[in-house]
């Protein structure tokens, strides 16, 4: 995000402190994480110490200071999902993607993460891929869903479409 975009954002949300979390959310949404450069511009613009933004960025779970993959795979570990085998689903995903929860695959395609409840408890276990929620996930279903995601990603790559990596200079 350049300075002009930051300025526009601040103008839209207002510069008072109650807008801070919303501003960070917007950066996170646009960039997929909170790049240091954006945080610096924001702190200058708002005339706040960078440490103040850093405190928020590290306190709240929805922020990341490192780049994330193009797709975010999130396993629900809420209580209802836990008693219905959410952990086994996570184990399988760690195996399928080859990375532990909280990290990103080497090809930057997927970030695997966990969440404590998506509020779809009646359909557990739940997995969310980007904005789509999958209910009553089974081991079989999981491989299929992931395969179709991979395939879509491959096709997109071949076509050279918009899913290509964003510039991620930290």
């Amino acid at each position: 995000m350049d300075t002009a975009q930051i300025d526009a954002m601040v103008k839209q949300h207002g510069g008072d402190s109650s807008a801070l979390v919303a501003l960070l959310q917007e950066v996170q949404k646009k960039e997929g994480f909170l790049p240091r450069k954006a945080l610096s511009s924001l702190s200058q613009k708002l005339n706040l110490p960078l440490s103040r933004l850093y405190a928020l960025a590290t306190f709240y779970r929805s922020f990341s200071l490192v780049p994330t993959g193009r797709h975010k795979v999130c396993v629900c570990l809420g209580t209802a999902c836990h008693v219905r085998g959410g952990q086994a689903i996570l184990n399988r995903l760690e195996h399928l993607l080859g990375v532990p929860a909280g990290s990103t695959t080497g090809d930057k395609e997927f970030t695997l993460d966990t969440v404590r409840c998506l509020g779809c408890c009646s359909l557990g276990p739940i997995v969310r891929i980007d904005d789509e929620i999958f209910g009553k996930v089974t081991q079989d279903k999981l491989s299929k869903v992931l395969a179709s995601q991979r395939k879509a990603a491959e096709t997109a790559k071949l076509k050279g479409s918009s899913t290509q990596a964003k510039g991620s200079k930290v």
């Binding site: 979390v21 209580t79 008693v83 009646s122």
Partner: protein
């Protein structure tokens, strides 16, 4: 946005009501698909698209609309079909293929009985429909029989984006009458007399809280809707915001009038994008019609609401942490008093209620405090919404009168435990609550009984556990959750959770020692007594309640190095039963350790030395040839 263009008279409300009735009971067929998050997660969008396509192909004239959640999540995706002059029918567990069949039947005017779940009566204020032979009525289904809907009445029935449908079902008439006829103190009297208590968990009398804030000195007052629904297993607030956002809005506006607040906030969990979207749409429609903003309904009342998205921190459900978060700081709680009613947002008097509490307000003022008091028990009035989830047949969102027993909820409404397994416990109140065992199933559900049993009402999540759930693992699970979510400000909570979790992890790994249980109890008592906020004082509840009711399971782990529910990895082993194994190879394929080998169509073998007990083989085996012992 001025009173001339907005809704500012009984006539205007009447016009909107008629407009709403025209879409609720139109002159052409209407098909409604449940498009709340749970519906969408089971493929409701595909159902919607399939219906649209079929209608389009046949050039069939019908209204196709979306709605919230009717609560019976197990049956999602649910479709409601209305034909003028005929009963409304709900169809269950739809998919794109079934939707094609259903579309054909709708076009030819038939009821598809095999797919039908029930018929459903009209709406509040709309004439009830007749019956159809062979299709039960909604209220005859065991899931709905004991329910009473005060706050969920509109969810899944009206289009949550339609202000007209909200008004058609009685909405905003209450606000109009309140603004016209009642003084702020009289509103508070009504709420106080109704006996409404906070639905977010602690159960503080709502009217009393309002009066504190009303009386507090301050140049500006705020009200807040706490929609940071963080208890895992509870989703009533999401469902309400997705299914009936105007009710929350109207409740808050009535509250603002009573308390004298000029600005309101709604703090919504980041994980609920659809709830955010729907509530925002509701707010902008309300503003357009003069129901929010300056001179509401043409009166002197000026009140507006800002929506804040949470950052994903469980502790922000605690009111002082929530205030810190709205003010743009990390969500760390502070000492009370002063209570938010005196010093809340930016040091000004602030009244915080949760979503369900606000949604009760319009009903209380339209039906009267006495009608509300008639529902429930001596100390807990009205209804409560619960999500019944986990190991239970009928999962979903229910609203029942306070005082119903756990047994009625689990067995009569919930239909018992799947696969003939044995009931073990029901967990209420999330990470602040406790596990209630079978011997207490006759406990009436009200604030006091649950607290006495070592649990709490909480926001209403009820997670049912069967014999396959390990109670030591559950205590470990909640402390693991709380370890991440404790803000770390006070030592009893931060260190208490960490030390208790260390001991539990050790017990689950087979390293339990005599005296561990007593140490855990001592840590729990310390946390209860000395933590700064409710997160810390209630954090030991899952631990202490499982020790209280399931001490034998702890002892089995510690003394016998055995996990009776066969959950704790280090205390169990996996085995392939050769007689049952058909050699399909599914287990070998998923084993991350490559510990399973064998030829196709011949019994496989498991190298136990190499097995990391992840349990994936157990999950995929369709022949139950893999056993845990």
């Amino acid at each position: 946005m001025n009173s001339q263009t907005g809704i500012a008279s009984e006539d205007a409300l009447q016009r909107w009501k008629e407009k709403g009735l025209r879409t609720i009971s139109p002159e052409i067929p209407k098909v409604t698909v449940g498009l709340a998050t749970c519906g969408l997660a089971t493929g409701a969008q595909a159902v919607f698209d399939a219906l649209a396509e079929e209608f389009d192909k046949a050039s069939f004239k019908a209204i196709l609309a979306g709605t919230g959640c009717v609560g019976f999540c197990q049956m999602e995706p649910i479709v409601e079909v209305f034909r003028p002059g005929q009963p409304r029918v709900l169809y269950k567990q739809m998919n794109a293929e079934k939707a094609q069949q259903l579309a054909a039947d709708i076009i030819s005017g038939k009821v598809n009985k095999p797919l039908a779940m029930c018929t459903v009566d009209g709406y509040p204020g709309v004439r009830p429909s007749q019956r159809i032979e062979g299709v039960p009525r909604l209220e005859d289904l065991p899931f709905y029989q004991k329910q009473k809907k005060i706050v969920l009445g509109r969810c899944g029935r009206i289009d949550p984006d339609s202000l007209a449908e909200y008004i058609a079902t009685g909405g905003y008439l209450t606000l109009w009458r309140v603004l016209k006829d009642l003084k702020p103190n009289e509103i508070i009297d009504q709420v106080e007399r109704s006996g409404l208590r906070g639905r977010g968990g602690a159960g503080f009398p709502t009217g009393t809280k309002w009066r504190f804030t009303r009386k507090a000195a301050g140049d500006k007052k705020f009200i807040v809707c706490n929609a940071d629904e963080g208890d895992p297993g509870a989703y009533m607030d999401r469902s309400l915001l997705e299914g009936d956002p105007f009710a929350v809005l109207e409740g808050m506006t009535i509250g603002a009038c009573a308390i004298g607040a000029v600005e309101g906030f709604i703090y919504v969990r980041d994980e609920y994008p659809l709830a955010v979207e729907r509530f925002q749409r509701a707010m902008s429609q309300a503003r357009e019609q003069g129901l929010l903003g300056k001179n509401i309904m043409g009166t002197d009342l000026c009140f507006d609401i800002r929506l804040i998205r949470g950052g994903g921190a469980f502790v922000c459900g605690e009111e002082t942490a929530l205030i810190a978060s709205i003010e743009g700081r990390p969500g760390e709680p502070r000492q009370r008093p002063p209570f938010p009613a005196e010093k809340g947002l930016w040091g000004r008097p602030t009244n915080i209620n949760n979503v369900e509490t606000w949604a009760n307000v319009p009903w209380i003022l339209s039906h009267g405090a006495d009608s509300f008091r008639q529902v429930g028990t001596e100390t807990s009035k009205g209804t409560k919404v619960f999500s019944i989830v986990g190991k239970i047949n009928n999962t979903g969102l229910i609203e029942v009168p306070m005082g119903l027993t756990l047994r009625e909820i689990v067995y009569d409404i919930g239909g018992g435990i799947p696969s003939d397994k044995k009931f073990k416990a029901v967990q209420t109140g999330g990470p602040s609550g406790g596990c209630i065992p079978e011997q207490l199933l006759n406990l009436p559900v009200d604030y006091e009984s649950l607290t006495q049993a070592g649990a709490i009402m909480g926001s209403g999540g009820m997670i049912v556990m069967d014999e396959d759930t390990c109670m030591v693992d559950i205590a470990r699970y909640f402390l693991d959750f709380l370890k991440e979510e404790s803000c770390g400000k006070c030592t009893p909570c931060r260190e208490g959770i960490a030390r208790a979790l260390e001991i539990l992890n050790r017990i689950c790994r087979g390293g339990g020692k005599a005296g561990d249980i007593e140490t855990l109890e001592a840590i729990g008592r310390m946390m209860k007594g000395f933590s700064l906020c409710a997160l810390g004082t209630t954090a030991p509840n899952p631990l202490l309640s499982t020790i209280r009711y399931f001490r034998d399971e702890y002892e089995a782990h510690i003394l016998d190095r055995r996990c009776p529910a066969r959950v704790c990895r280090e205390l169990i082993r996996f085995r392939i039963v050769a007689d049952k194994c058909i050699g399909c190879g599914a287990c070998a394929k998923v084993c991350p350790q490559k510990a399973i080998t064998g030829e196709k169509k011949k019994p496989h073998t498991l190298d136990e030395g190499n097995c990391n007990k992840c349990g994936m083989c157990y999950e995929v085996c369709k022949e139950t040839a893999i056993q845990k012992e």
